[in-house]
């Protein structure tokens, strides 16, 4: 962000607030574009994955090659659809709920470390920010359910409210382990650490458990099957967004896929090496080299094409890992049936939370005493 502001300031010769606001506009625009294109791809991918798991083809006609333009066509259709307000709805809350939901997950994107230097805000409390800003989405969901003035929407919202208390705690406790090991909340530091010390999932025996706990609770956080209680197509029409149509509906859709992306990026960055390859092959995506150069006072200097590639291939590595986890989310969705409300609660409180605490204590002991602490 600072580098972008400096670059724009140099480019235009302006000072002060103007280059800053231009930089904001550039960041917001590129993120919106990225999310839209990604969501279209992910929706197409979801339909294809679902279809092939059910031994059928999925979209095949639109756009020629395997229906690649199906999502584009759907998005265009949604743009032109009528924006319906139920007559008994609370107009104001109904109108802003999709924006609140989308903002919650959109704000999460600003701390995502795509590659060294490609991170909009390198917050010192990145992980913390990501978890807490994602909870804003829940407020929007409850808003939507309440404002719709429909029993199905309200049921969906109530279920979301019940679900949030059972998944937020386990997901937060599962993340404490990696934070303890790295000793930082900053997401970039996870990449540096894992480039130097290997992936965190292999760091100690508690990390796979923590990764599993985080993955399961992130599924619930994304309202993905088997935790899609707030939407629950078979019981609640489509849950909290039953009454929405057109563009407002598509914002809920965007939000769902964007939060899948955030959860998968977090999974990849915190447990699976982020932008680095296993055993740090080729030193790809190592943030240290960039940080060292930044410390030497030349943040945007690219010494050669090799260095450039080494830094920026990290994006490709991270996206590959992210899409792998998104694929697993889809895979699970088309495998498992939906859980009951009480089963979600039991899973959260009786299984994920204790095991998350076990990973916290175990990792802390491991950090303090090393392997010698464990029976061997």
């Amino acid at each position: 962000m600072n580098a972008l502001v400096a670059f724009l300031s140099d480019l235009t010769g302006l000072e002060g607030v103007l280059p800053l606001s231009m930089a904001y506009a550039v960041c917001i625009g590129s993120l919106l574009g990225f999310i839209t294109v990604y969501a279209m791809f992910a929706i197409w991918m979801e339909r294809k994955v679902a279809a092939h798991m059910q031994v059928r083809y999925g979209p095949m006609e639109t756009g020629g090659w395997h229906g690649w333009a199906q999502s584009v066509a759907d998005a265009l259709k949604l743009l032109f659809k009528e924006d319906i307000f139920p007559s008994q709805a609370n107009k104001f809350l109904f109108a802003i709920a999709p924006a609140v939901v989308f903002c919650g997950v959109f704000a999460g994107f600003i701390v995502i470390p795509f590659a060294a230097g490609i991170q909009i805000a390198s917050l010192n409390l990145g992980v913390f920010f990501l978890i807490s800003i994602a909870a804003v989405e829940v407020i929007g969901v409850i808003m939507a359910g309440w404002a719709s003035n429909s029993k199905y929407s309200l049921f969906g919202a109530v279920r979301e409210a019940a679900q949030v208390v059972s998944y937020e705690l386990p997901s937060a406790t599962a993340l404490i382990g990696p934070i303890l090991i790295v000793g930082s909340f900053q997401l970039g530091d996870f990449n540096t650490y894992q480039a130097n010390h290997g992936w965190l999932i292999l760091h100690n025996p508690f990390m796979p458990v923590a990764a599993l706990c985080f993955f399961i609770s992130s599924l619930a956080g994304c309202k993905r099957a088997p935790f899609d209680l707030p939407e629950a197509e078979s019981e609640l029409v489509s849950g909290f967004h039953t009454e929405y149509s057109g563009m407002r509906f598509s914002f809920f859709f965007l939000e769902e896929y964007a939060s899948m992306f955030v959860a998968s990026v977090l999974m990849a960055t915190l447990f699976f090496g982020g932008t680095t390859l296993p055993f740090n092959i080729g030193d790809i995506g190592n943030w240290a080299t960039y940080a060292e150069r930044a410390a030497a006072g030349e943040p945007s200097v690219i010494s050669g094409i090799g260095d450039f590639l080494r830094t920026h291939l990290g994006i490709v590595v991270l996206l590959l890992k992210t899409f792998f986890f998104i694929f697993i989310q889809m895979w699970l969705r088309w495998t498992l049936p939906r859980l009951r409300v009480d089963q979600v609660m039991a899973l959260g409180y009786k299984y994920l939370l204790p095991w998350g605490l076990v990973t916290v204590i175990g990792t802390a002991c491991f950090e303090a005493f090393g392997w010698g602490w464990l029976p061997h």
């Binding site: 994955v49 031994v55 059928r56 083809y57 895979w331 088309w334 498992l336």
Partner: protein
């Protein structure tokens, strides 16, 4: 309530059954080819006893109206003028809005001139188009119809086809239908 054994049993069974289910879906995803028939591009073969749209051998028809009388829904309309033994055809139409594809019109025919084909693609843009005049309709798909251009009657087409021994067309279809009917009787 639940013992320690139940607790760990739940964890292992949950992980185990999820892994089993996921292996099943992954096997479908990776190794089983889709069973979908991409309908407009390819079609499934219909059974030989399929009752689709009708086809008429105009030269054999004697305008006896037995098929129209047999029809339980009165969907067949026949109009022809008799000039001695010659017939001047005006209309032999079937209203597919009414037709229930019961095949009751086929057995009464004394000269065996009306048959049912395997054609089922009857979607049209308007109600009027659902009334098919069998004098002009050949009962074949467009590509087969194009191959039959210049062969106005079924019998001529059949004769030509017998000499050529070509692929499926109206005549071959009629022959197949007749063979089936003979077998049945």
């Amino acid at each position: 309530m639940g013992s320690i054994r139940d607790y760990f049993g739940n964890i292992t069974s949950a992980l185990g059954t999820t892994a089993k289910g996921m292996s099943v879906t992954l096997r479908h995803f990776t190794s089983e080819p889709p069973i979908t028939v991409m309908y407009p591009h390819e079609t499934k073969p219909v059974p030989p006893t399929y009752r689709g749209m009708h086809i008429l051998e105009q030269e054999k028809c004697i305008d006896c109206h037995l098929c129209a009388k047999a029809c339980p829904v009165d969907c067949i309309e026949i109009e022809a003028e008799h000039h001695g033994r010659k017939l001047e055809w005006e209309k032999f139409s079937i209203d597919y809005k009414k037709c229930i594809f019961c095949e009751f019109c086929i057995p009464p025919c004394p000269v065996d001139c009306i048959h049912m084909t395997s054609e089922y693609e009857m979607a049209t843009d308007s109600n009027d188009d659902m009334v098919e005049d069998l004098l002009t309709w050949t009962g074949l798909r467009p590509e087969d119809q194009a191959a039959l251009d210049g062969k106005p009657t079924a019998v001529q087409a059949k004769k030509q086809q017998e000499s050529k021994k070509g692929g499926a067309d109206k005549a071959a279809q009629i022959a197949a239908i007749k063979a089936r009917l003979k077998k049945g009787s």
